[in-house]
Symmetry: C2
């Protein structure tokens, strides 16, 4: 088993991966975005085993990304719909889509395109810095500990000073501003 | 085994997940961004088994996200560095980070912060539409088949007309524009 949980990791990426970081959960969210909400339909479109699908839907409900809505009383049957948290997770899918289009499909030859529901205009997801609105180039980034960075003995800050100091040319930016 | 390959799926998300969609590969890319490049250091920071790490590094090299650079001749030893494709994958990690910060850490209490290397200004990743530069709200999106959408008998377009028609209120945008 390679599976491991990151539900207490001091890292936003690791925490998100705990729910989103394998194949099925993001694809179930994709199906919801495409309008698929019922068990048999998830199974049909994803070609996924019933036991795996049952487990994943339960996890996504437990984690607050999906909510169950009854659509039939006898026998009771439920649809699965995205919550606010689930729609936010769709942002990760759009980043995956942008990366996949660039590297796995020829330019302009995408299998799926997305549009704005109201205007009908094509939407092209891009990652920018919310303040400067400029495209983010990962080569230009520098990471450092934030307020929730662990200060306990098991993960000593002193080790991480060395860790973060390694980035790029090893020089910190002259002066970081919040 | 729940693992399944999506390397021919007509979906940018599924194709990307084939390499990025479990825990270790994105975390190895994270480590590279943080300046970790050598086998023993990946192992130390990720607390990952040597056999799993060996396999994952090989996959990331084979898929073109990492490149090997010799740093010692006798015995031969290599460092692993991000390629252009690997840096682009970092965009997915930034989307994961933004989602994780919102939903797994209290506002402003992030464990890691990122800065621009040159200016030192804090960087806050956000997903926008590259044309309008407005924030993307997944509720407002509509998906439809693109040029590379499969038209063969095994995945019939007619089925997908129904599939895409289910989104939201079932109405397509009045007129989509490319």
């Amino acid at each position: 088993m390679e599976r491991k949980t990151f539900d207490t990791a001091p890292c936003s990426i690791a925490r998100s991966l705990d729910v989103l970081g394998d194949w099925w959960n993001p694809l179930i969210i994709r199906e919801c975005l495409y309008g698929v909400h019922r068990f048999d339909e998830f199974q049909k479109w994803l070609d996924i085993g019933r036991n795996i699908l049952t487990r994943r839907l339960k996890q996504l409900v437990d984690e607050g990304l999906l909510e169950k809505r009854p659509y039939q009383d006898n026998p009771p049957r439920f649809e699965y719909h995205l919550t606010d948290k689930g729609y936010d997770a769709a942002g990760v899918l759009l980043a995956l889509m942008a990366y996949g289009e660039k590297w796995h499909f020829e330019n302009g030859n995408e299998p799926i395109r997305i549009f704005d529901r109201t205007s009908g205009a094509r939407v092209m997801p891009a990652l920018v810095d919310a303040r400067s609105m400029r495209a983010i180039d990962a080569r230009q980034l520098y990471a450092g500990p934030g307020p929730a960075f662990p200060a306990d003995k098991s993960v000593r800050r002193s080790r991480f000073v060395e860790y973060f100091a390694r980035q790029g040319d090893g020089k910190r930016p002259a002066k970081t501003t919040e």
